[in-house]
């Protein structure tokens, strides 16, 4: 480690002759010809992306080997990815994981470099030259398109953009969603869809104590939206959301549920199934009951949709001013415009029936359609990863980097973790396990010699030089802490945990103070 420190001070003296000393560095030979780097120096790993995947991969690597050094590069000046920009403002406990990530970032063998756009400011190839291994964990910044006419009308937004807007993602600042209609239709029935529904209908009193952005809070205060329909292609037994989020909707103050009884035909029977199989004349009672999570979720859904509530709940529902509900067996075919304003006026939904049952059930068109008037359509059918560098293999059909347990196919020294590796599903815990797996693969490769660490690598020294030449100034973790402090102070003044800075310019200005 001390030899690396020495290297740092020696490098600062060099101001020219880049190509000469780059070559020299790679061979472990200094300007004067002296060998100053020992062979098998600390393995240096570069991680692209500072969300949960990046940080959990870093955490595992640093803990596993005392000599690994990890550098995390992030495009924005601020770290933490979807924990900051995806987790709903009214879910602050989920964001506690930031404390774990902060510990990792402040570890002596970890460095954070924000404001660096990998693919543009520095290529993956250059990173691979500078480090022994590169782990891509930049997640999924795009969204799956619905692919119907009218999708680009005013009043139609992707959940990714809507969530980015209320969470302060700089690129979504100008979204200005139109909330002047009575009915909103959300396409998709996963947790993101429920987050959007909940934020649209939450009482302002609750929202104003969260870290939701000020512009979003103001827009929601003016919102006319009173009814939110959460639409899915299949039935109640196939909803992708989880019970915690469903319970939050059921208990949301000022709202009441409204669903279609016919949608629940066959569900009570499915809940009670105990299949017994007869094989070779013997009866094998396989308790093929529903898995517990699906069972509890479906029971709650049934109860909410069908059960006659008790007096207290009846009273609560009577006083509710906002309505929400799932609509099942519906697929969008077209979004209509209001002829005079060319903004959204309604959506045409094709009616489906199910073939098969359980998780593998398929939606099949019946030929019937149903039109729903609405002024806001939010599509929440999945995020999607993009390729950031042509040299990195990319499977455009599945929108992931092709890999085996995190080892990128046909690319030695390249790994991936998080949603880029498996596709954009799962919660933080899922990503954690996924990232640990990638870290394990990398460490296995070091142990087996597949990943060669015998030649010293310059790591961030060279990348810093390249960035400086290109006029890019990275944001360090302590720079981020200035932004963090300011946001919390601003939030304190208005009873919020933080008031987020909304533009990259503002963030950089504070970082440089």
């Amino acid at each position: 480690m001390s030899s690396c420190r020495l290297l740092q001070s020696e490098l600062k003296l060099w101001t020219s002759g880049r190509s000469k000393w780059t070559r020299g560095l790679n061979e472990g030979i200094g300007w004067s010809g002296k060998t100053f780097l020992s062979t098998s120096c600390c393995p240096k790993v570069c991680i692209v992306g500072s969300g949960p995947a990046g940080f959990y991969t870093a955490q595992h690597l640093i803990k596993a080997r005392q000599d690994v050094e990890v550098d995390i590069y992030e495009r924005l000046p601020v770290p933490f990815g979807l924990v900051r920009f995806g987790v709903a403002p009214d879910h602050p406990e989920v964001k506690n994981v930031i404390n774990t990530f902060t510990q990792t970032a402040k570890h002596s063998r970890c460095s954070f470099y924000g404001n660096v756009n990998v693919g543009k400011d520095v290529t993956v190839g250059e990173l691979q030259q500078a480090y022994h291994a590169v782990v891509l964990s930049y997640g999924a910044e795009g969204n799956r398109r619905v692919g119907v006419p009218g999708e680009d009308l005013r009043g139609v937004y992707s959940a990714k953009d809507f969530v980015g807007w209320y969470n302060g993602l700089p690129s979504c600042r100008e979204l200005s969603p139109d909330l002047s209609c009575e009915t909103a239709v959300i396409l998709g029935q996963g947790n993101v869809a429920l987050d959007v529904a909940r934020i649209l209908l939450s009482p302002l009193d609750i929202l104003k104590k969260t870290d939701i952005t000020q512009p979003a809070l103001e827009a929601l205060a003016e919102s006319q939206v009173r009814k939110v329909l959460i639409v899915g292609r299949r039935g109640p037994m196939q909803v992708a959301c989880t019970i915690k989020e469903l319970r939050e909707m059921v208990n949301l103050p000022g709202t009441r549920p409204e669903m279609v009884a016919a949608d629940f035909e066959g569900v009570p029977e499915a809940l009670k199934v105990v299949r017994s199989e007869r094989i070779y004349g013997r009866s094998l009672s396989a308790v093929a009951d529903l898995p517990r999570p699906r069972k509890r979720l479906t029971e709650l859904l049934m109860k909410t949709a069908m059960e006659v509530p008790g007096d207290k709940e009846l009273e609560r529902r009577k006083n509710a001013t906002k309505i929400w509900g799932f609509r099942f067996y519906r697929s969008p075919t077209e979004i209509f415009a209001d002829p005079s304003h060319s903004r959204t006026a309604g959506i045409r939904l094709a009616v489906n029936r199910l073939e098969g049952s359980g998780e593998r059930a398929q939606a099949v068109l019946t030929g019937e359609v149903e039109d729903v008037s609405c002024g806001l359509v939010i599509s929440s059918i999945g995020y999607k990863s993009h390729p950031i560098d042509p040299s990195v293999p990319f499977d455009s059909r599945r929108a992931i980097v092709p890999n085996s347990v995190g080892r990128v196919h046909q690319a030695a020294g390249l790994y991936c973790s998080g949603w880029l590796k498996t596709g954009p599903t799962g919660v933080i815990a899922t990503t954690m396990n996924n990232s640990f797996d990638t870290a394990r693969s990398l460490l296995e490769d070091v142990d087996s010699g597949t990943l060669d660490i015998s030649t010293a690598k310059p790591g961030s020294q060279i990348v810093s030089m390249l960035l400086e030449e290109r006029g890019v100034k990275p944001v360090t973790f302590s720079d981020w802490e200035k932004i963090d402090s300011l946001e919390m102070r601003k939030g304190e003044a208005c009873g919020k945990p933080r008031e987020k800075l909304l533009t990259v310019e503002e963030m950089l200005k504070v970082a440089r103070t």
């Binding site: 406990e93 510990q103 509890r296 919660v427």
Partner: protein, 196 residues
Amino acid sequence: MAAAAAARSSMGLTLRLSRVIPDCRSCPLYRFKGCVDNTAGSQRRGSFDNLRTINRHLQTSICLYQAEEGSSNAEDPDDVVNVVYIDRSGKRIPVKAKVGDNILYLAHKHGIDLEGACEASLACSTCHVYVNSDHFDKLPEPDEREDDMLDMAPMLQENSRLGCQIILTPDLDGIELTLPKVTRNFYVDGHVPKPH
């Protein structure tokens, strides 16, 4: 992980020194009424300029951590609860704990690989453990919120619980907690492949 616990406590001090008082709600000491600041919790937020208040917090937290360390070494036989962790490689790790200890933070103190992403606030399932049958029934029924989070845990079993919700009592002496093996060799959704 003991180093991590030390790092965490020093982090707490650093945060206080830089006048950023962390949110108490998620700390187990606060939740389980083990924190002296509990009653004063609601008043703490506004006192940035009151140096004396901060100093008091500093002393309180230092004393708390020291007290925690101290009492775990004092072996009052009535207080001791023997716990065994079985880590992901199958290794048995016996630990001497005391009544009132929280399974998650106990694991951290002894360097056991149990994550607690949401810091015991029932917002994740990373501290998922299996409890041995002898002791599983002795645990109080899970809160509905714990069951909701358990539903998201991979490899869910009948004897699954969240470690952050298990508080040691004398009748849990001998409890064994197994960490689920969630690696690429095991299917994350609990699917058990049929032998072919």
